[in-house]
Structures are given as C-alpha cells and as structure tokens.
Point group: D2
Chain length 339, copies 4
C-alpha cells in the first residue's frame, strides 16, 4: 500500500521533499511532478521516476496521484489547494497556506463544504522532538498554568530580497503556529517593539521583539534576529505558575580546548529541523494511508497564522497593539486549537 | 589600619552586614550601632562590641566612627545620608538611596557641593561573579554592540505586605541598576506588560514584563515573577550583533537519579548573592581605607534608579510607554554611566 | 527498486526490525520470515505480508529474498551467515556474529573465499549522532592524539538470567566495537577491576571496570553498571593531547521545579539508540541497493569483538591483564580498522 | 580578638597566604615572618607590618605569635611542625605535612603525646563549594552506597623540574586526601596504569591513570594529565548504587559565537580554588580563635596521604598493585576518617 504522491513545485523545497519521500520515508512514492519551469520538472521527474505534468491541474486530476504536495510559489497555493479539495484528494501545502487571510478563509470554507479534513499545512515544529517534549511537560501540569513563553528565533543571515515584514510573515510565523499549538489557544493581540538595528542588517529593521497575547492571558515574547551570524538558534522557555520548562540544549558533542568548553550550534534550519521534516511527512503519509486523514496543522491553523501575521505586520507599521480578529471557527476544527 | 564603621539600623539586613564586617571581611570593625528600637540596638551592639548610640545623628558625629552604613527604614535614608555628607564621612546606604527621586536629587546636590564622592548605594549585583563575567564579555566587543538583554527575576514567594508597585521599586530595581552599569547607558523609557495572574499571587498582579529602552537603543525585557515557587532564579542574556552572552548555570553538583539529571537552584537571594555582598563590602572598605573613596554605585546611580522606578510604576498604572527624564548629570559623576 | 529482505528470527528484536523495515525506512520490503517457533513466524509473517518459510535454509534459498537479516538465537548465527555467504546474498547479522571466536573466524574465512564483503554485524553505535560527532572531532585532529577514553555503560536493570560474563560479552561488547571504530585501532589487552557489589545486583558481580589497551597505546576505561536504577546512560569522553571531547548531554527539555533544574535521562537502550538503529538499517539497505555492498561493521569486526570479549572474560576470571591475540587480518578488510 | 599569626616561608605560597590574612580574611593579623632568604623576609615583613625573625624557631617562640603557618620548603616542615607542637601552638602546615611517612608519623606521635589537636594540613579541596556539595549528596544517602569515583586532575602544563613521581606525590595527592574525606574511609591499595605519552610532556610519563581501592571496596580512578594545554580542569563523579553525583560545571558565563556555545575553563589552580583557600583559612582562624582547635585535615590525614603517595609511587615503578599499610590509628583522630 504505497501512497502515490504528486508534487507541485520542484524548486529547492520541492526537491528536498522528493528526496525525503524517495529515499528516507516508508510507504510513499513520488508518482508525479510539475513545475512552472518545465525543464526543472522534467529533470527532477526523471530522477524520481515520476510522471511529469504540464500543469498543477493536470497533476491533481491524474488518477495515479493519491495525494498532493504543494511546494510552489506562495501566490499559487490557493489555486492548487482548492483544486485538490475539489478533487477530494488530501493535500499537504507548504507554508503559507495562502498569501492573504481571505484566501485562507476561502480554503477553510471549501474544506468545510467538503465535510472532512483534506488539508495539512507545513508547520514542522510540531514534529520536533524538543518542542514535543516541552509540550508534554506543559500538558502534564507539572509547571502549572502558563504565564509567559520567552522565544528566540535567530538566523545567521537572510537573503538580499528579505524585507522587513518577512520577519513576521516568514520567520516568526513558525512561532505563531507553535504557540497556538503549544498552548491550545488562539492569539488575541500582537505588538512589535523595535530596538536599534544590527549593523549586519543594512537597511533592514533587524532585530525585532514580537509580543503576542494569548487568549488565556499568557504573554509570548519572540526575539526575531535574522543576522545573528553565530548560527541558527531556536529557543523557547515556558514560565508556569509552579516552574518553567525550556527547549533543551542538544549539542551532540562537548569539546574542551583552548580555555573553553563548547558545543556546536546548528548552522541553519535544515540542520536543526531535518528530523522534524522527516517525522512530519511520515506522520502525514501514515495518516493518509490509514484512512484517518490528516491530523497535523489544519486549514484553520493556516488561516489563523495568516490573521496573526497580518496583525503583526500592522503592529510593526503602527507601533501599536493590534487585536487579532478571527472568523467563527467551524465545527470541523472543533478538536483543534480552541479560541 | 582598621576602618571603624557605624551601622544605623540593626534589623535583619543590618545584623547581616554587622556579621559580615565582624567575622568575614578584612580591615573593618563595627565601632558603633543605633536603631529606632533601642533594645535591639543594645543587644546587637553588645554582641559586636560596639558603642550604642541613641540616634543616627549622634552615631554620625562620633569621632570613633570613620564611615557610616545605613540599613534603617527607607524613609530615613535621606536624613542619614545627608548628615554623613555634612560630616564629611563616607556612607554606604542600602537601597533605595531615598524614597523619592527628589530626595535622591537633594543627596546628589549635597555631594556635588561637598566636591567629592562620599556616597555608595547597595546594589550588589555589580559584584556578582557571573554578572562581572558577562560584562567582561560585552566590554570585550566579542559579541558586538548589544541589541537586547533578556532578564528574569524570579522569587519563590514574597511576604504578605508586598504590593504590586514593589515588583518595580523593590524587585526589578536591581535589574534597573544592573543594566545601566552593564550597558554604560541611561534608561530612556519604560513600559510594563501584564499577563494573566499566577494563582499563587492572590490579588497581586504577578508576574509582570518590564520593558526598558536604553539610551543607545537596545531593549531590555525583564520577567518579574515573585511567586514562582521553585527557587530564586536570576537570568540574563545579552544579544549582540555577533553573538550572545548569558549568565552561566552555576550548579555546584549534578545528580543523576530516578530518571533525571539535575542540579540545585538557589533557595533565595541570600544564597544566590551571598558572595556578591561580601565582595561589595570588602571593595567598599578597601576604597575608603585606601583614601580613593567609593567607586561603586553612586548617588547618581541611586537617583537614576529612583527616576526609572517612578517611570516603571507610572507605566504599570497607565499601561503606556513612559519616558524617563533625568536631571543634568553633574561632572562629579562624569566617569560613571553616561547618558 | 525495493530491496526484498528475509528475516530469520521473529522474536522481540526481529519484530522490531520488521516494524522498522515495514513502516519507517525507505526502499525495503520484508519479503520472507522464519522462526524456530512456527506459530510466531506465521503471525508475524502475516502482519508483514511476507512469505513464511519452515527453515532458515529455505528462506535463504528463496529467489524472492535479496538479502538476509539474522535475529535468531546466538548459537544459530554461524549457520545462517555461512549459508547466506554460500548463496552469495548480503546478510545483516545481529550481534554477536557468532558465539565463539573460532566460529567468527570461519565466517571471515568463508567471506574471504567469496572475495567480497557480504556480511554486516549489528553494532549500532557507529550510527549514533553523538558518537559520530565525537569521532568527527577526534578525526579532525583538534584535540590531538588520543590518550584516554573514559566510558560508562549504565543499565537500569538486567533480567534474571543475566550472568556475570555477560557484562563483558553482552553489555560492554558495544564499547569494544565502538572504540575499535573510534580509534581506528585494534585492542591489545584487557583487564577487569572489581569493586564492591551493588546491593541491587544480588549475587551478580556488578559493577565492573573494564580496562582496554589500544594498539596505539591509549587506555580505555569502561564502567559497566547494570543495575544503576536511574536510567540508561551511555557516557564517553576522549582525552587527547590538546583537549577533550565527550558525548553531549541530549535532554530535549529542561525543567525548573521544586528547587531543581533537571532534564530526563533515557529509560532504556531502545529510547537512547532508536534513531541509531534506523540509520544503521537505512544505510545498510542503501549500500545493498546501490550495489556497493555493506560498509558497516564487518565479519572482521565481529571476530575481533569476539576475541576481545574472550580476553575480557578471562581477565574477569583471573584478575590479570590478558593480551588480545588476533589472526592475521585478510586484505579484504584492509580499509577497515587497522591493527 | 585578632589571631596573631607567624608565617614561616615567604615564597610565592607564603606571600599569597600573607595577602589573604592581611586583606581578605577576618580576625587575623600577620604578626611575624621568617624565611631562609632574609631579604625576602624583610621585604615581605615590612609590607605586612610584621616582625621579622631570623629563624623559624625564634618565630615559634615569639610570645606575640598565637599560631604558626608553615609554607617553607617541604624538607623543613617536620622541624617546624614539631617545634610548634612542642610550644603548644596551633600550626597550619602546607602540604605535604612532611616529606616521608616516617616523619609524618613522628608528628602524629608528638601530637598524640601533646594530647589534643594542634596541626592542620593544607588540603584545600575539602573547602571547595563543589566538593562540599558533592559530599552532601553522598552523605544524604540519595545515591546509595558509593561503588566508583571517576576523577580527572588536569593541568595545562608543569614546570621543567617536574618529575614523574610528582604526578602522584604532588598532583594527585589532592585526590588522595579528597577521597579519604569524601568516603570517610582509608585507601587500601593503589595501582598505576600507563598509556602512551602526550607529545607535550617530553620525557615525562604523562598522563597516568591512578587506581585506588577504598577500604569499603569502592574503586577510584584518577586521570592525571599535567600537560593538557586547554586549562585547569578538576572533575569528579561518584557512582552509587542508586544514582550518580558529579562536580557541577561552574562557568559564570555562556557565550554563543561563531557556531559554538561555550564557557570558560579556569586557567590554573589559583583561579579554580581561590575561594577554597579563603574558606580554608577563615575556618582555621575561627577554629583557633574559638578555642575549639583545628577541625580540618589532621596530622593523621597528612600521614595517610604520605603512605598512599608512597604506595602510588611504588605502583608507578613496579606496574603492580601495591597494598597500603597504615600504622594503628590513635584515638585522638577517632572522629576523623575511619579505616
């Protein structure tokens, strides 16, 4: 019972997922690919032994495709996800679900009309061993009700086309999804504090301090530093009424040399979250193969992340606290994060 | 050349400093004591072999007293510090320097009129080994210019008379002094964010998130949790352009037992800062004995802490960002923290 | 190109590897199974959709089996590995390769006669992320030539049938293989020191201190504690001329509660080495599928481990230092660990 | 009540203790000094405001000297300690107590004849915060009866006159005293294992592995590396029946930079044990001043260390296990470490 997956978008991320499904994971086969760049699609498709389609629509319609993975350019996500829903096929969409909250809401509505979950969004942190251990501690009640979460999202550098809003929409959106899942609550408001700029960021406003208020009243602060140079470093500590719990240090080796005791910091997000991506896809594959359907980040989660992102960008521009206003949550997602 | 110290106030803190000067430190002798509670003064004075005075004024005037330590009730600090300055005697004043910024400014003006430093204020964190190591890293330039400092000040519990403003004026005032010293900058503005309350705090608004803006543009966030139960925990991490530096973990012993690897957390501030108090007083004694005069936290530092505290309290009440407005800094303190 | 594997032995370990190959790894299918307990074989075979054979010989002869995994009772390993070599099929044999060094040598000779590597032995530590990071540091030269390695192998408890020799042959044999690989050297001598017994070990001589001398002159000490109660803990530190390198602490989460800062210790070897087993099998599968043949622990490694084990047992019985004496190393293994 | 101390030997160690007693500690004054180098004695004495004596005998006889500190050349220790006992004066003798076990035994006998303790030997590790925390865990019973202690004593380098026996007599003698105190047991036997030499040690046999058997049956292994380059590193882990306890990591600051998370390692023993020396002397001073007499390392401890050292040197030369044979322990030391 091998799941036959069609991949829309064979750029860097798409190729990485094709490699993952072809050579790392169990119970899956890349059956079809397509890309706006037909040459790349042909080359990648040949390497994977997959049928090459001219368009996403054709790929989705292919009876040899059981489920769809969308890794194309963000503005195209809505179209492919809606088409997958229309075809009744499970679809894994890399973040963002869509580029506007309105588009996300259209997907939510289409899925609700379909009547069962088909969509999963690619927020991989929920699959990271350290975040899962952190959530297990929180859920155990051993540190009491959460009051704060202190986070840091540090990138060694960003590409030249990175714009200041991307600190919210592209970088900290991972924390936005993570804390909704971690706390089992929606985000109620956002604000952004702006310190002096790093000399490494050029004209970019880097770093930022994003402050989120959870619906239950806890405050989450997220340092977003995208030119920190020293490595890729993801930190998180929950402060509860009775104690705290933090992501552990995960250095595989400790070296003593030249007056220092030290361990390595991951070089980039690939190194840090390599396993999380594997687990994310394997669990998705297993959920489709078992017939239970996707249980990971939902269209609602994708929509909520978009709304909070928008609020964050507005807060960045205005310097003010911005309230997050979500649509009514459909029953389909009732067992998901509660507002 | 033993320094003869007179101690005003023989309550808990005063007795601890008398013990310190009598049995731990070098080059010092407690020559005189006084307290509003004459019985306590007599008992403590007898134990220390010290003259007992009826009033602070009398003690300050005693020719057998070379220097004064003020540990009395806060509202009396101004009077005793001014009297010491008038007598031309060095005076170590436990925090706060005085209970209003106006009173602090009167002390500053009196000292400026005297023409040289006589006053030191009891901010002991500047003498802590870990904070000093942190400052050495920052000053070395190895992590670049500072952009953030993330702090936590966690108390296991507070006494019944603790009121919500004390989270700023009594608890986080240590961070207020520390960051001015750490960054070599004044604080430009304050704001306070308020999450849901801990059930351990009763009616108290606990915890709080104090946000300070440094004059150089860095942002300092301070989690203030005064009912955290698990221990006394002081955390601090500076984020620079090229890296970060944090207070180390200082567990003297690591135990593996019952499925856990663990180390102890200090039970209270006495345990955590015991050595810092010793070093603080020894350096003060040595500075007086050597004739150089005090080099630790100055009357200006005490004044600045009071102004920032006031701004913090105003921010707590208003929910707004409050600008810190300091008087012009006298030349006497020119080598101190620069605005 | 799915590798079709036949599994001999469907006990606990065999079932775990069948689960791994069926639901975790890529490019592999369990095509056939057999077990001395025919009922278990039928049940497990049905679950995996695999042909059930009456005997190991029949399974090895099955043309639908590309490669063999041997997880049966130790005394049967020699027969099945030799039969696989005779059939020219790659064979992965769980440790031990065989129960005597003479039997191991017969396998080495059979493989040499065959002319290329077919055999891999199941020493999974070489696939552990932390050990690999440690070896990368050592191989980089950054800590200089190795002088010591300090190891600990701690089990929370052992089953009732565990006998004292098993501390060497079953438990520390993992360190025996690991240090040969880590140092790229053979072991020259062994001795065993015996402290007082743990009350948890009953009549068992537990713990032990195994001392190994490497051919290059470094000394390896291995604490073997098999009733340590608190968890499963594997430690290793290499002391070089210029520094040291140690397996890192890998707690995914750090909790502060009740006066302690703590992290979890793995409960057992499954938890600690789960990923290492996955990587071990995936790399083995890939090496067979690619036609390069196995590159993991070889028949020679299995033989060397058996010889060192025997020396260790003799050292345990005699209390004396025992020299390790290996046969001449065939050229087939020339690129392996050098004597 | 200031204790007036006479210091015999004003070399590097003596000067450091004079500095300590003059400028760091409470309740003490350096009243007299002497040295074989009269010029140094005069210079140091003048700096400390102390009487300068021509000989140790004269200093000990000085009625202005309440207690004696012996920091002179090792071969002179016996004479000065015996003379102090004869004068009925407390004497703190830097290690070693004397250069032969016979001389140590003569001191023990003289003290026994005197009838109460006068002698304390300068083993400062018993005063180190981390070792004390480790002993508190062991004594609490929480990790059960001790089975092993794994130690490392690492020096960045040693002076040119360092000879191979000094690894035992000068370096690991600190561990020899420490484990007797830690376990409350005598050492029953010693052996030394010799790995390949570090290239940094020249002709020196460096490093060594010293193995000690405690009278209760626990085994202590001590890595002695005296050219490790990277810093001064003292490690210790006790393995008990129910868990383990280890000296903690004590880095005051944690830096993230250039792909590494790191903390400093102490540069030398002065940095690592600075506070232990202070505490050692303050407690000694207080014990003399209070009239209770010394409670730190006794003449018996000095004697036992000498006997174990001799056994260790013999083990180094012979390669064999050497039994430690102590004289009968006088009742005077009954509450000390029990055989």
């Amino acid at each position: 019972m091998t799941l036959r997956v069609g991949v829309i978008g064979t750029g860097m991320i798409g190729q990485d997922h094709i490699r993952r499904m072809s050579t790392v994971l169990s119970g899956v086969r890349v059956a079809a690919v397509t890309d706006v760049d037909a040459d790349t699609a042909r080359r990648v498709g040949a390497g994977a032994g997959a049928t090459v389609h001219a368009t996403g629509a054709e790929l989705i319609a292919d009876p040899g495709v059981d489920a769809v993975v969308v890794c194309s350019w963000g503005p195209t996500h809505e179209e492919y996800v809606l088409a997958s829903i229309a075809a009744g096929k499970p679809v894994f969409c890399e973040k963002p679900l869509a580029t506007t909250q309105q588009a996300c809401l259209r997907i939510v509505e289409a899925e609700v009309a379909h009547g069962s979950r088909l969509v999963q969004v690619g927020y991989m942190r929920r699959y990271d061993q350290a975040y899962r251990a952190l959530k297990a501690v929180l859920d155990s009640g051993t540190i009491g009700a959460p009051l704060f979460m202190h986070c840091a999202h540090r990138n060694p550098s960003v590409p030249g086309h990175y714009e200041k809003e991307m600190a919210i929409t592209d970088t900290s959106v991972h924390e936005i999804d993570m804390v909704r899942w971690m706390f089992g609550e929606e985000i109620a408001a956002a604000r952004v504090l702006v310190p002096r700029r790093s000399r490494h960021g050029g004209d970019l406003q880097d770093p930022l301090l994003l402050i989120l208020e959870m619906s239950g009243g806890a405050i989450v602060d997220v340092e977003i530093s995208v030119n920190i140079r020293y490595g890729y470093d993801i930190r998180g500590e929950i402060v509860g009424e009775d104690g705290t719990a933090a992501l552990g240090e995960l250095s595989p080796v400790t070296v003593r040399r030249s007056g220092q005791v030290s361990g390595p910091v991951p070089a980039d997000w690939r190194e840090r979250f390599l396993r999380a991506y594997d687990v994310e896809f394997q669990e998705w594959i297993d959920s489709i193969a078992s017939g239970s359907g996707p249980v990971g980040p939902s269209a609602w989660d994708g929509y909520a992340a978009a709304v909070v992102s928008d609020a964050g960008v507005q807060a960045l521009h205005s310097g003010e606290r911005v309230t997050v206003s979500l649509a009514d949550k459909p029953k389909l997602y009732a067992e998901e994060v509660a507002a």
